[in-house]
Each structure stands twice: as C-alpha cells, then as structure tokens.
C-alpha cells in the first residue's frame, strides 16, 4: 500500500453493493421531479435510457477494478494523473450537489427548515470520518447496509397500497422532451467513477455473478421506481420534491399506524451517507495520491465540500441551475469518457507488456 492510502481491496459482492447504492440513491430523490418537469410522464423512459448507458460504462469501471484500481494501474503517468484529477474534481462536484440535496431533504423533511446548518454540521464530520476509513471499510459498511435496504424495499413492495393507474405510462413515445431531459440531467448519472479506485481481491476476479445481479437490480429498481412514480403521481411528479419519501407513505399499514415512512427514510439516509462517503473517499484517495497524507486529504475533502455546500445549500435552485449548465458536460467526460480512456490505456499497456515478454 502506498503512503497515505488505505486498503482499496474489495470483494465482488461488496463492489456490487457499492454499485447499487452509488447508482440508485440520488435517482430517487429530486431527479424524478426534474425529469417530469422536462418531459412529463415519460420521465421513466429518460431514466431507462440513462441507466442503460450507466450500466454499459460500468463494464469499463469493473474491468479497471479487476485490474487493481486506478491508482495501481500500469498506464502512462500523464494519463493516470489526468484521470485522477478529473475523477477527484468530478467526485467533488458530485459530492457538493448530492450533499446539498441531502441537506435540503433532511432540513425540510426531518427538521424545521431553519436547521440546515445543524444538518450540514452533523453530516460533514461523519462523512469525513467514514471517508478517512477508506474504500475497504465503506465496502463492508455497504455490505452490511444492503441487507437492511433490501428488507425495507421488500417490505414496501409487499405492503404497497398505491392508488395508481398502470396505464399512466402510456403512450410510450420517446420524444424530444425525453432526449432533452437526458441531456439536461447528465450530471445525475454516471455514478461509478469512485469505484475505479477500488481493487477487486485477486482470488475473486472471476466471480462476476454478484456484480451482474447488482446491475440487474439497479436497472430494475430505477426503472421500476420511476414507473411506479408515474403510475401514482403521473404528471404530478413535477411537484414531488423528494420522490422516495412521497412514494413510501402509500402502504397498507398507514391507515392503522399512521405513515410508516420511518424505515424508508432511515434506509435512504444510510444509502446517502454511504454514497457521499464514497465520493469523499474518492476525493481523499485521489488527493492522497498527490499529497501523500490520508488524514490531510480527508480533511481537505470534507472541508472543501462542506464550504461549497454552505454556499449551495441555502439555495438548491442555484445548485440545480449550476449543475444543469455547462458543467454537466465536464461530468459526462469524467463519468463516461475517463473510464473508457483509462481502460483503453491499460489494455494497450498490457498488450505491449505481453509482446515484450514474448519477444
């Protein structure tokens, strides 16, 4: 292990859990509302298109993880440093956006609105601590959390009592609104970049089943959730600020016990914590590669994100406008192009090495 870094070794099942949480968490919060505002009831189509793209890019990220992770790859230094810097910057930006969304959710739904400072002040140290622990630990936390999340999802599906209209997904027509929504909200997708830092344990690099299952769940969950939203709220999704919280109140026990969104809120907060920690860890890991001291890197990451959040949090609308502007294309480059380029560089290096060996 290099100085200033922690273990990035993960098992395929842990990577699968991380991939699920990284992908799904912030697609069930404010994104459906944004999508619906852009393309009406067809927002589920937009989600389906983008998630398919994400899953395709994940193949490259997984290959990089199986090859030992971004920091350990034997690729030209310029490519590696550029990829690291882009990954750090991209992850930092994402952390700011998602942190601001989390604070907005927690502050409006869980607390009286004026307490967003309390939420931010609670969140940042916890995230810094978990980020400091490194990928191996976050992967284990995800592995533990995924049981709770799974139980909550199953419970909500079994007890669901939607007064929905399944035909609300009709007509299925991917029109210009759908494509423009995909373009405008690019930033909310491509969540697998931090996983490039992970390194799949050597003796488990042939076990692909957990990852494949996870990808299937990601697709099923994202598309299923957005379809459920479309069926329950239809065009009203454009007014649904926090989608998963809105959907979770519809259950058979709510008439008996009152709204039972407690488990769903808890599960989502755990997912958000893991996702944000993952982003911060990527920033810390990438920074530590240059700075050489992990603790300093984690503190820098947390403070930087926290400071920017302070600016973004008071106005989620401003954050929304910023991240739907030109910066989304930078994110697209980071999330989609960088894994492909890094993988291509690694593959070329590997072939060159093999040729040298044969010669």
């Amino acid at each position: 292990m290099r100085r200033g870094t922690t273990s990035t070794s993960v098992y395929p099942s842990q990577l699968a859990a991380l991939a699920f949480i990284a992908s799904v968490t912030f697609k069930v919060l404010m994104l459906p509302r944004y999508f619906a505002g852009e393309c009406g009831r067809q927002f589920w189509l937009a989600a389906a298109i983008m998630i398919t793209l994400d899953i395709a890019v994940f193949a490259f990220v997984y290959k990089i993880a199986c090859a030992g992770g971004l920091c350990s790859l034997d690729i030209p230094l310029a490519v590696k440093n550029a990829a690291l810097i882009l990954a750090v910057v991209g992850s930092a930006f994402k952390a700011v956006l998602f942190c601001s969304e989390t604070v907005a959710y927690a502050a409006t739904t869980l607390f009286d609105e004026g307490l967003w400072r309390l939420v931010l002040a609670s969140l940042v140290p916890a995230l810094a601590y978990i980020a400091y622990k490194g990928f191996n630990v976050i992967a284990r936390v995800a592995q533990v959390a995924v049981w709770l999340i799974g139980a909550v999802v199953v419970l909500n599906v079994l007890l669901a009592d939607f007064n929905g209209d399944p035909d609300a997904v009709l007509p299925i027509m991917p029109d210009a609104g759908v494509i423009s929504a995909c373009d405008k909200y690019l930033f909310w997708f491509g969540d697998f970049t931090p996983l490039m830092f992970c390194s799949v344990a050597v003796d488990m690099r042939r076990k692909h089943a957990p990852v494949l299952i996870s990808l299937a769940f990601i697709a099923l969950f994202t598309i299923g959730f957005t379809i459920a939203l479309a069926c329950v709220f239809g065009g009203g999704t454009t007014y649904a600020s926090f989608a998963f919280a809105k959907l979770s109140v519809f259950n058979k026990l709510s008439k008996l016990l009152g709204a039972l969104d407690f488990p769903v809120v808890s599960a989502w907060l755990i997912m958000a914590t893991i996702k944000l920690s993952l982003l911060l860890t990527a920033v810390a890991e990438g920074t530590a590669h240059f700075v050489g001291h992990r603790g300093a890197a984690a503190v820098i990451a947390a403070v930087a994100v926290g400071l920017v959040c302070k600016l973004a949090v008071g106005n989620v609308g401003a954050a929304h406008d910023f991240f739907t502007g030109g910066v989304r294309y930078l994110a697209a480059v980071v999330e989609y192009a960088v894994p492909m380029v890094v993988y291509a560089a690694w593959e070329l290096s590997r072939r060159r090495r093999e040729r040298r060996v044969c010669a």
């Binding site: 842990q14 609670s122 284990r140 592995q143 914590t273």
Partner: protein, 497 residues
C-alpha cells in the same frame, strides 16, 4: 517441570563437582530474609542421609498428608550416609512424590517456594530439590452466573488453572491438544496456559498469541482481563476483541473451530482468540436445541440488542425533532404523558438512564439481605412515585425498561451496549434521527475496520462469508456444519464427512 528447569537438572548432574555447594544455614537464612520472616513460611530442619536437611514451604498451599506420608517420613527414615552425587537418586528412590523431583540453584529457592512448591535444602548438596505437592482450596465447579442454559452442561471454569486444563482435556481427548504454560507477572508469577489443537489452529495465530503474551512486562496479573487487554489489537476500543467464556464446553467448541484459548491461573474466565462480534450473539444452548428454535432465539437476541441500543435514542429523536413519524394516536398519548414534565426529552431520558445504571450497579453490589427491599424501593421510585409526581413520563420509563431487558438478552455485550445507548441518546438529543443514523453508520464503519489476529470483527457479514452463514442469524442443523468457519483462520476446514 519447565524446559528451563529440565535443562538445569541435566546440567547439574554433569557439573556438580564444579558448582558451589549449598550451605544450609546461609540458604535458610537467605530465604527467610527474602520472605521478610513471613508468617506462612515454614522451615523444618532435620537430619537425613547423614546430612543436615531443611524443608521450606509455604503454609496452606501443600497437601500435608501426602507430604508427610510420601516425602518426610521416608526421608527421615533414611539415616544412612549418602554421597553428595547420589542424593538425587536416593531421593527418587526413597520418596514417593506425585510429580518428578526438580533440581534448582540456591538463587531460585525463594521464587520456587513462593510459587507453592516444597524445597528440600541439603547441606553440602550442589542443588536444592523441588517437590510439587500443591493442594489448596478451590471453589467447587458450578454453573457460571452469566451463562445459564436450560439444556446443556452446567460446569463452569474455576480459579485453578490445572482444574480448568483438566476440564478441557476431558472434552478433547486427543494428543494433539497443546497446552503451553507461561509465567506472566514479575511479582505474581501468574501461570498462563495457551491451548490450541495442533493441525486445526492456524500456527500464525498461535505464534501471535504467544508473542503478545511473551511481550507482557507487568508486575502482576490477577485476572484474565489483564491478558485480554494485551491480546487486543486496539485496547483503547470500547469493543472487546477477545472472546471469553466460563464454560468448558464452549471453550472446547471454540478450540475445535480453530481458535486459541488462554487460561489464566486465578481467573475462571478463559479467553479465546480470534474473536468476531457475532460470537456474543451465540449461546451454547443454540447448539443443543433444534435449529429452528435456535434461529428464532438468535434473531430475538439481535433484535433485543438493537432495541437496547437504539430504542431510547430513536424515542428521543422522534420526540425532539421527527415527531411527524409517530402515528397520530401514539403521538397524542405521548403528548398527554409528557404534559407537565419539567425536563426536556433528552434530559429526561438521560436521567432515567442514569437512575437505571445506579440501580443496576447497586443490585450487583448490595448485600443479599437488603437486596429485596432496595429493589422494591427502586422499582417504586421509578415506576410509580417519579411518574405520579410528574418528574418523569411513563413512556420513558417503559422504553428504558425494555431497553435494559433487551441489553441483558446478550449479557456479554451489556457493558458496551450501556455506553452506546447513552451516547446515542446524547446524539439523538442534538441531531435527531439524522444523528442516530449517521452515528450508526459511523459505528458500523468503525467495527468494519476493527481486526484482530487477522480476522475481521464483523465477519461473516463484512466481509460476507456465505459459508459461515449457516451458523449466523440462521442456525443450521448440526449435521450441516461440515466445515470449520472461514472467518476463523484454521488449517483444516473439514469437520464432518
């Protein structure tokens, strides 16, 4: 006989003619000075084998009957002149000790006597001779107070290391059972026995345990906890990283899984390493009853522990911040019950927690005779008077009661759970449900990073080891336990065919 002494005994035979002979007067005087004329030091001088002899022993630790019959009497009857070099052979022939006679130098006499052995000093002999005939009062074998079972063995370890070793040996009748004794503590000289099964336990774990015990440089060890803290990788942690048990059947089962046990003389607690957190949620009885019932009980224990730690915090968080999560009728009931209470929910919970801790501690310490009366007073004070007086609310008392009962469903984790629930209540009072969840995730991260003897603390859940899940939440049938756990390093995974 230790290897060191054995080597000395061998060498002494060869080099007797070059060593200084022991002068009995000087030697006995030196021992008395070393002991500061202690009241329990007995020095008995007599003549035997044509020489001045003296037995030195600590009173109350030896088997006087055996000593008198098998050692003193035959020796006193031996009045023939014996040459110096034949003393050892004559002693072996004439006396009938139950353990081999050791030979020691004059400098080791005091330590040997302090260890509980009888030393024979013969004037002019090159060595002193050690007879080990210890016998002292040991507590009777009984069921340990915190490991009660409805079905299964009820024997528990005692304070005598030899008895404990015997109890394990009775359950593992294999020559591959290794018991290695070390002495720890400069002044206490406490015997510590490292136990493992050769061919099952990972040699690296055994070596690591030995290394850690060898590195202990302390004046005295009076309880196994002293050794436990030194075996832990992070002894500043709130969480125990060394297993402990007072039952020989559990110790034997853990040895069979590939663990290493450490028996400490003077303590009924036997330590086991490596340790995973889930061990505290397992009970011996799980292996003696049907697996369905065992599964149910394990799930109950997990739930109980989670309730114990998080229920008070969740209640405070919901009352202070996230009241909207209460169902309406429950909320009205809570509002009615907290009406007029002068304390905030957080303070109220902390007060009740503190009172419960006081009651809990007092119930352990108080004399039996007034225990009943004080328990009633404690229950009345909390359960009735404080609530009627409007100082505390009923739901708070109820929640703490449920939490405390849940805590003692897993008694091994009670100490940790007690600190954690207090911490989480404080966190909930300040940061609400968000704080509780962030705290829980941070706690899981901390535990996920905890390792001991190469084993992850949260195994077999993080990392996931599906092979071990048949003895996790779901207890498989004993016939399914064909392999040893993968979370414990061992060199032979096959248990059953």
């Amino acid at each position: 006989m230790t290897a060191k002494r054995r080597k000395k005994a061998h060498n002494n035979g060869r080099a007797a003619h070059t060593k200084d002979m022991i002068k009995i007067d000087a030697a006995t005087k030196a021992v008395k000075e070393e002991f500061g004329d202690a009241a329990d030091l007995i020095v008995m001088r007599f003549k035997a084998m044509g020489k001045e002899c003296a037995f030195v022993w600590p009173d109350g630790i030896i088997d006087k009957e055996l000593f008198e019959l098998n050692i003193v009497r035959p020796l006193k009857n031996c009045q023939i002149e014996v040459k110096t070099q034949d003393i050892s052979a004559v002693l072996t022939q004439k006396t009938r000790p139950t353990t081999p006679i050791e030979e020691i130098d004059e400098e080791e006499i005091a330590d040997t006597v302090a260890g509980g052995d009888i030393v024979l000093i013969v004037d002019g002999a090159p060595s002193a001779y050690v007879f080990s005939e210890r016998k002292y009062s040991v507590r009777a074998i009984a069921e340990p107070p915190v490991s009660n079972v409805l079905r299964g063995p009820r024997e528990g370890f005692v304070e005598d290391m030899k008895t404990n070793m015997t109890m394990i040996r009775r359950r593992l009748r294999t020559p591959k059972l290794r018991l290695k004794v070390k002495k720890v503590g400069r002044l206490s000289g406490t015997a510590v026995c490292i136990v493992h099964i050769d061919g099952v336990a990972d040699p690296k774990v055994v070596a690591e345990a030995e290394r850690k015990i060898d590195s202990i440089d302390i004046d005295g060890v009076v309880e196994a906890a002293y050794i436990a803290r030194r075996l832990e990788d992070d002894n500043r942690s709130l969480f125990e990283q060394v297993g402990s048990t007072e039952k020989p059947d559990i110790a034997a089962a853990k040895l069979l899984e590939g663990r290493v046990a450490v028996i400490v003389d003077g303590s009924p607690v036997v330590l086991t390493v490596p340790f995973v957190m889930f061990e505290h949620l397992q009970s011996a009885e799980d292996y003696y009853i049907k697996s369905y019932r065992a599964t149910l009980l394990r799930c109950v224990r997990v739930m109980a522990l989670a309730i114990a730690i998080f229920l008070p915090a969740a209640y405070v968080a919901l009352q202070e911040f996230q009241y909207q999560m209460f169902p309406l009728k429950f909320l009205i009931t809570i509002m009615n019950s907290v009406y007029g209470i002068p304390l905030t929910p957080t303070l109220e919970m902390l007060v009740v927690l503190t009172v419960f801790e006081i009651l809990s501690e007092a119930s352990v310490r108080m004399p039996r005779y007034i225990g009943t009366a004080l328990s009633i007073v404690g229950a009345l004070i909390l359960g009735n008077i404080a609530v009627s007086a409007g100082l505390l609310s009923m739901p708070t008392v109820l929640i703490i009661s449920v939490s405390t009962i849940g805590m003692y469903c897993v008694p091994d984790e009670a100490n940790t759970a007690s600190v954690l629930r207090l911490t989480f209540v404080a966190v909930a009072g300040v940061m609400g449900l968000l704080g509780v969840i962030l705290g829980a995730v941070a706690l899981i991260a901390y535990l996920a990073d905890l390792r001991n003897f190469g084993t992850s603390y949260l195994a077999p859940f993080a990392p996931a080891l599906p092979g071990d899940w048949k003895d996790a939440f779901f207890k498989g049938s004993l016939t399914e336990q064909t392999t040893r756990p993968y979370s414990v390093p061992n060199v032979n995974h096959r248990r059953m065919r």
